[in-house]
């Protein structure tokens, strides 16, 4: 598999009151063509920053300080405006969290679809695209304004727009967070099917671990502006090697037994003012030792995934013991 997206040593800083803060602290990531990669983490972990930097869709106060982003052979960091526009238009498709703010409230859906497709598409072409996104009554949808659609329908319109020009990469930022639990699965299935039909790759940014475990081939866990663990979904989520991944799984409701208490992660994610020279998770980590505060863990291979933790082997062992205890 070749890499469609390759991010190396990326540092992004946000200017703001009281000096710049680091959103990404030497983040590394690659996306293979045809795969679905999920990026998970708490708010402020940098998952939206890394996802949006693929299309250089960062807010004006963000600065790329160093590093490289290569998307399908284009170097996104220093490309000129016209080439960037071309990249976004022809090779990237975006699905945002809230469809109601992503659609223009003053324009009927058909006109917005024409803009997304480009050129002068026929009425039937628009209807076909909407039908592919599993909207049953495309005629009505095309005549509607966004406020006349339900959240799920509006998100399907957004999905139709994202795939309109057969992109090579779909970036979906919390695609189902604003939707009802009962339709989340269906919308994800549509998105997954269309990705497959196009042979595209997909990056899902989410904090819903259950959703991720079902729809992503690989998972990247972010913390403190870095990818701290990355590997096959089943490997990472069933037997985490980073204490933070383990804590995230333990905090999510859904896997506990009746009467069992969830373990929230105490404290808050760090706000980085400069490069972090230690393990960013050290202050919140139950396993932290002196080394963790003194040296920055680099990514290394442990039990079939890359992980940034000095004691990853111990974490893997501890989780496999716990797994066995549960099956007994």
């Amino acid at each position: 598999m070749s890499a469609l997206v390759e991010i190396r040593d990326l540092v992004v800083a946000y200017d703001g009151g009281g000096g710049a803060t680091r959103g990404l602290d030497s983040a590394e990531l690659y996306v293979a063509s045809g795969e679905t990669l999920a990026i998970v983490g708490e708010s402020g972990s940098g998952k939206t920053t890394i996802g949006m930097s693929i299309g250089r869709l960062l807010p004006p106060e963000a600065r790329i300080e160093s590093g490289t982003i290569t998307v399908d052979g284009v170097s996104v960091v220093d490309v000129d405006a016209e080439a960037l526009r071309q990249l976004r238009r022809d090779r990237l498709g975006f699905v945002f969290q809230n469809p109601m703010t992503a659609l223009d409230p003053t324009m009927r859906i058909d006109r917005q679809m024409i803009r997304a497709i480009g050129g002068k598409p026929s009425h039937d072409a628009i209807a076909l695209l909407l039908r592919r996104a599993e909207l049953d009554d495309p005629e009505r949808v095309m005549r509607s304004f966004p406020h006349e659609l339900s959240g799920g329908m509006a998100q399907r319109v957004i999905i139709a727009m994202a795939i309109a020009r057969s992109p090579k990469l779909i970036i979906a930022d919390e695609p189902t967070a604003s939707l009802d639990a009962s339709i989340r699965e269906k919308v994800m299935d549509t998105l997954g099917r269309l990705r497959e039909e196009n042979g595209a790759s997909m990056v899902i940014l989410s904090h819903d671990l259950r959703l991720v475990s079902r729809h992503a081939d690989r998972v990247a866990v972010m913390y403190g502006g870095r990818v701290v663990e990355i590997g096959q979904s089943a490997t990472v989520l069933e037997q985490p090697a980073h204490p933070y991944t383990r804590a995230l799984i333990a905090a999510a409701a859904g896997n506990e037994k009746p009467g069992e208490r969830l373990e929230p992660i105490l404290g808050a994610p760090p706000v980085l003012r400069g490069p972090c020279r230690k393990c960013a998770y050290e202050p919140r980590c139950g396993l932290a030792r002196p080394e963790c505060a003194n040296s920055r863990p680099e990514a290394r291979l442990v039990a079939a995934r890359a992980v940034c933790c000095h004691f990853a082997e111990e974490v893997v062992e501890a989780t496999s013991d716990a797994g066995e205890a549960r099956t007994e």
């Binding site: 009802d180 639990a181 009962s182 904090h207 259950r210 506990e256």
Partner: protein
Amino acid sequence: MSQTIVELQDIVVTYRAGFLGGEAFEAVRKVNLSIREGETLGLVGESGSGKTTLGRVCLGLLAPTQGVMRFGGAPFGTLRQRRGQLSVVLQHSEWALNPRLRCGASVEEPLIILGVKPDERKRRVTDIFDSVGLGDGYVDRYPGQLSGGQRQRVSIARALVTEPRFIVFDEAVSALDVSVQAQVLNLIMDLQHKYGFGALFISHDLAATRYVSHRIAVMFRGEIVEDAPSERFYGTPDHPYSQMLMSSLA
């Protein structure tokens, strides 16, 4: 046996669109529910199933078209009579709190309305901030200076400061991060142990609901299709719609 706080009998709520009647829509159809002291009832269902409408009926904000709502064994009466006895925590804490009031002032407001004396008010505000896990420093902060989880703690503090007998949590943790969500859910359970209020926990997230609730009612198109102890929702619930909701957790 603890006392029943909220009791709904054959509640029907009909919304009418347009002037002079028009088309009627039954948002809630013949619902019977009861919530006891110290008990949390979870209410799950998709958008438009009538969850929030039912929550508004329980708070006395919406008079049902038919049926009877009883509070603490007596007819509900007027909202004025029920001041300080019931409360609500909403999804978006950034809209629920006045951005121009310091958090302490927001939490103190319900006590002012109840006519509590100033020194007593100050003591109770300090106590309740302590109970929700926020130190003294947060009393003088503005909502904009807090994180989502901290703001939701302030909303819970405000709901609890009058020591109500009944609280509605309407999607109270849906906007929060996984780790913060667990903190707030644990907080709700701990506070219930301490204060013994009855609660209605409205959410479309079954995982969070079954964790925090004693019983769960599943709502579908205005009707309660299943009302069972939460443990049922760790196995196989009866109604096909409940099973469908469960499948999204697998």
